[in-house]
Each structure stands twice: as C-alpha cells, then as structure tokens.
C-alpha cells in the first residue's frame, strides 16, 4: 500500500460520438484511478463504453468521438489538454495498448522485427542495433523460441497465440508505465487464453507495469485483477477490489453479471442470463440506466440518477437500493 498519487486518475469523463443518427453519449461521467504497478479490470457488456474509455486515455478516439467533459491525469500530466503532438510523445513511451485481435494487430507486409523496433527507433530515438537487441530480449520474455531468426519473419508465419505474445512484447518494449489491454484474450482458444493470462501476471511481477484490463469475462478478472470497475451504459456502477466484487456485490447489475457466468460447480439450470438490452445511448435515460432490466427497480430509479455510495475504503456503488430510504426494499431483496 502506498499513499502517493495514483498513476492514472480519470475524473468525470464524458465522451460523445457524432453519427448519422445523432449524438451518442458513449461514456457518461466515468471516474477511476490506477495506481502504479496494479491491475484494474474494467468489466461490462459490449457497447458499455469500456473500449471508448480506454481509447480516450490513449488519445486515440476516432475523429467522430470527442471528450466533452472531465479530466485524465496521467503521471502528473493532464492528457485532455495536450496537443496531438504532445500526446504522441506519451504514447509508445509511457503508455501502451494491446488490442483485441492478434490476427489483425500486426501489419501483414512488415517483418516482426521492423514492427517490434519501429516504436523504439522513431519514438524513443534508440539506435537500431540496440532496439533489435531489446526486441530479441522481449520476444524471449514472452516465450517466442529462436527470437533472433523469427524477427525476420512475417505475421502470417505465426499462430494466433504467438502473435498475441508478439503484440504484448511490442507493447512492453518501450518499458511503459501503463498498459491498456482491450480484451487481449477474447480472440484466442481457451488453452492459449490461460497461457497469455499467466504471461501477463508474470510480466507484471517482473516489470512492475500498471495495467488496465478491459474485458467482459469475469473469469479473467478473477485471475488477474487487483481492483475491478463494473461498467454499464457508459457509467461505472460499482468499483471495488476482487473480494468486494465477487463476494459482496452491491449493485444489481454486478450481481446479475456474476449470476450469468457459467460455473462448473453449479447445475446448468442456475444460469441466469440478464434479460433485455442496454438502453439506447442516443437518448440516455433520465434515471438509472439499469432500471429497465433491474429486477429490484423502484419508482425513484426511473426518475433520478442514483448517487455513488462509498461502502468502505475501496468499495463504491451507484444504486438507489443503498439509500437509507430504500431499507425496506433492500431487506426483501437480500432475503
């Protein structure tokens, strides 16, 4: 435990997209922090804004997307106020990102070696020979056999799992302070998934890099995360450490999410998918975004956005059930 300033502090972040159909509020007032060396998992269904959040931090929002409010403090710098050029000095130096699909994350017409070293050479002004040496070391670290020879090869000569290892090595080579991994194992086989997650844990132990792991898979979260933020419809509905979220979930959405995972230790008829679909973010709901699907919804949920309740040091949730006035309902729910 350290009491120094967090590495990344995102406050009240709002992101909207201009589309042909109108404005979409993809991220609506998100707050979270990442401390040095820890892993924060952002969990949620697809379309909940978790990828948009991470792209905002990277400064890689597409031209149609815009940060309308909020701040992103990274390593004592306010990222939302940087110019494109200044932002580029941070990406690939202190900040790295790993994308979902290793099959498309590598340029098919450039050799692995070129793609590994170009960030170092152009961005960090490392001499080419030194960059190559570091690339070989990195490939070794992520478990690519014969790295010297394989540097000359092209992406099509590697399997999916190998490619994701290369992508990870590529993200690590600049020795960043923070890596954002957007569903890094979704596109992989289950057995490879486990290997890659193991690799992440090992890398974190060895390099002390902080990580944001974006995922919809609670199994991954359980393995790798220190803290968890549950996102729904562009908002963070509950944050807490692993124990809080898995054993004492307070938000109905978190509970529903936990109920919906397949668990070997339960009979299959106890699998409860969440009914309904997330709200339309072209016209976000006035009240709680989850109220339409929430089995415990009250009148208030339709009309007023719930406040965030600090449950203990790390555990927070935004739900009306946690309000004093809802005590009666809460008791029936918890039975």
């Amino acid at each position: 435990m350290s009491d120094q300033e967090p590495l990344l502090q995102v406050n009240h972040l709002h992101v909207t997209f201009k589309t042909h159909g109108g404005q979409v509020s993809a991220v609506r007032g998100v707050d979270f922090t990442v401390n040095r060396g820890e892993t924060l998992a952002i969990v949620g269904e697809s379309g909940c804004g978790k990828s948009v959040t991470s792209l905002s931090v990277m400064g890689l929002l597409p031209a149609s997307g815009k940060i309308t409010q909020g701040s992103i403090m990274f390593d004592h710098q306010e990222l939302t106020r940087l110019t494109k050029k200044q932002m580029r000095r941070i990406r690939g130096v202190d900040l790295s990102m790993i994308f979902q699909d290793p099959m498309t994350s590598l340029n098919p017409t450039l050799s692995i070696g070129t793609q590994m070293t170009e960030g170092l050479v152009h961005q960090n002004k490392v001499p080419r020979s030194e960059a190559r040496k570091r690339a070989v070391d990195m490939l070794k670290l992520v478990g690519i056999p014969n790295p010297e020879e394989r540097m000359k090869e092209f992406p099509y000569q590697f399997s999916g799992g190998m490619r994701q290892r290369i992508v990870i090595a590529m993200a690590l080579i600049c020795q960043p302070k923070l890596i954002i991994a957007d569903e890094p194992t979704t596109a992989l086989d289950v057995t490879i998934q486990a290997q890659i997650l193991e690799l992440f844990s090992r890398i974190q132990r060895e390099t002390g890099v902080a990580m944001i792991m974006i995922t919809h898979d609670l199994g991954i979260v359980a393995k790798i995360a220190d803290r968890i933020a549950v996102m729904y419809a562009g908002e963070i509905v509950e944050t807490g450490n692993k124990r809080d979220i898995f054993y004492h979930p307070r938000h109905p959405y978190t509970k529903a999410l936990l109920d919906s995972i397949v668990r070997i230790d339960l009979p299959s008829d106890e699998l409860h998918p969440i009914e309904g679909a997330p709200p339309d973010l072209f016209s976000p709901p006035v009240g709680c975004a989850f109220s339409d699907r929430c089995p415990f919804a009250m009148e208030v949920c339709d009309h007023v956005q719930p406040l965030t309740t600090q449950l203990d040091l790390h555990h927070r949730a935004a739900c009306w059930l946690l309000d004093k006035r809802a005590q009666a309902v809460r008791e029936t729910v918890e039975k």
Binding site: M1, H12, T19, S291, E299, Q305, V329
Partner: protein, 321 residues
C-alpha cells in the same frame, strides 16, 4: 493495494430537490420492450432500394439513364429529319431551331443522329452485359459448384484469357468477321465474360460453405427455398454491380472500335462514328458535331458508373445504418 481514491464528482452533480418517499418502493414491473427490433424488417430488395434512393447522385444517374432510354426510342421521331438523309445544301449548320444540334458535313441532322446513336450504344451495352451475365454465370457457377479439379482447370483457362489484351482480341475478331453491329456484340461477349465468371465462382464457393445454407439445409428447408431465400439475395449483389459496370465499358469499346473504323458502318450512326467523323470538322470550328456525341458518351458512362457505385453501396450490408 490502492487507497484514497475517493471521488466526489458524482455526488456534486446529484439532484438536490427532495425525492418523495413513496418512490422508494418496488416499481410495478414494466413490459420489456427492449427486444423489439430496431429496424422494421423489410425485404432485401426493398431495403436496397431504400438505401439507393438516399444517394442523390446515383438517383440522378438513374433518372438520366431512364430519360436516355426514352429518348433513344422516341428521339428520332421528334424530328422530321431522317437519320441517313443527306442534304448537301445544309452542310455544317450550327445549332438552330431547325436543327437543334446542328448538322454534319453531309447535312445530316445531329439531333436525330445523336438519339439514333443512343439506341446503338444502349443496345450494345445491354446485350454485351446480358451475354456476359449468361456466359459468366454458367461458367463461374459450374466451376464453383463442381469444385476440385474441374474448378482448377476452368479457372486456369480464365486466368490465361484474362492475361490476353482483350481489345486486341476484339480488334482481331472484328478484322476477321468484318465490321458491323452484330460483330461488335459477338466480339465483346466473347472476351468480356471472364470477370463475371470469376465473381460468380467466388460467390458460389463462398455460399456453398455458408453456415446459414448448411443451417437451412439441416432445418429441412427445400432446395428451392434455400435458393430463393438465401442464395439469390446474397449472390445477386456483386453480380448486379458487375453488370452495371459492364454496360459503360461495352459502350466505350463500341465507340473506340467505331473510332478505329471497325464499328458500326456508315450510313448508320453510333456515337463513336460521329466523334470520328467530326475530328476534322472540329478544326474548322464546327464544334457541335463533336460536342453532342462526345457529351452523351461521357454522360452515359458517367451515369452508369455512379449508378453502379450507388448500387454497390446500397447492397453492402456493412454500410446500412
């Protein structure tokens, strides 16, 4: 582990007015309407048409082509001049109320000849495209359907034919068969189908393995139903686009061949022939003799190209919103 990441932003923005206490009771459960479809389900072709209609440029192109088709039929009748009638007294007249598009060096009315040229150009374009379609679908369909060795051999042949400079082959055919309308159509059809065959084969191969085809088979759907409901809508798109793009290229080829003296023979007019005839006239300042046929060749090709582009966009499911 983390510590003091207390954030108050949410609290600050929260509502301050009092909330009635009776709002903190379980709500009467609302009907789930979340699962209704966002878009009304329309048929494939209707959907394509709706998408296409949004594209103003392509609609303009379509309107032009429809008008051109109408004028090709009735245009020559709107004037009392005959397409081949020469009148040496009326040589090289500028456009006027009597001759809307002027006259050529033999005193023939350019207005009538332009619409007559439209007939020939459209005829050649459409027949060549249909012939391509027929040969291409038969050849590509067979190749893709049979697969394996047959497919291999058939596609090798296409590859070799593809390597041939097709206009040269057309020119050779024209030399051998003698110039004329029929010859142009035959020559263009004989050389133009390879692209279509490749596209059709690709579509067939892809569809054979599509999960929804296998799925509808396993649900016991009849073959006719599979073809009507799944195969046709999904293969027709690229084929129709190819047809719309074949028409202008056939029209260009005709104009090109006519220009070389291998096209439609005098006294009949095609746009290419008219351009060729007016080459020397342009230096004498008789611009209208070149202008009108050249304008209509260009406009027609432009219209077919933008309609083809528009169709391509309309048929692309990824672009639908």
């Amino acid at each position: 582990m983390s510590s003091n990441d207390v954030s108050e932003s949410r609290q600050q923005s929260a509502v301050v007015h009092p909330i009635p206490d009776d709002w903190f009771r379980p709500r009467s459960r609302k009907q789930h309407d979340a699962e209704r479809l966002v878009r009304p389900s329309t048929s494939y072709w209707k959907d394509t048409w709706i998408q296409f209609r949004k594209n103003k440029l392509a609609m303009g192109g379509l309107a032009f082509l429809i008008m051109l088709g109408i004028m090709a039929v009735i245009g020559p009748m709107l004037s009392h001049y005959n397409v081949t009638a020469q009148n040496l007294v009326m040589q090289d007249l500028a456009p006027s109320p009597a001759h809307w598009f002027g006259t050529d060096n033999l005193g023939r009315d350019v207005f009538v000849r332009t619409w007559y040229g439209a007939r020939i150009s459209l005829f050649i374009g459409i027949v060549a495209a249909l012939a391509d379609l027929l040969i291409g679908v038969a050849y590509g369909g067979l190749s893709g359907y049979k697969g394996g060795r047959t497919d291999n051999v058939m596609m090798r042949i296409v590859e070799i034919l593809y390597g041939l400079p097709y206009l040269l082959v057309v020119i050779l055919l024209m030399v051998v068969m003698g110039p004329g309308l029929l010859t142009i159509v035959v020559a263009l059809s004989a050389t133009g189908w390879t692209d279509m065959a490749r596209i059709v084969r690709g579509q067939v191969l892809q569809l054979k393995n599509y999960e929804f085809v296998i799925a509808s088979k396993s649900f016991g759907s009849g073959t006719a139903r599979i073809i009507r409901k799944s195969l046709v809508p999904n293969t027709m798109g690229p084929i129709i686009v190819q047809v719309t793009l074949t028409v202008p290229s056939a029209i260009f080829s005709e104009a090109f061949l006519s220009f070389l003296g291998l096209g439609v023979q005098a006294p009949f007019a095609s746009w290419g022939v008219m351009v060729n005839d007016s080459l020397s006239a342009i230096l004498s300042g008789y611009w209208w003799q070149l202008f009108f046929p050249a304008l209509f060749i260009s406009l027609t090709m432009f219209a077919f190209n933008i309609v083809g582009d528009g169709l391509q966009d309309a048929l692309d499911p990824n672009l639908r919103s």
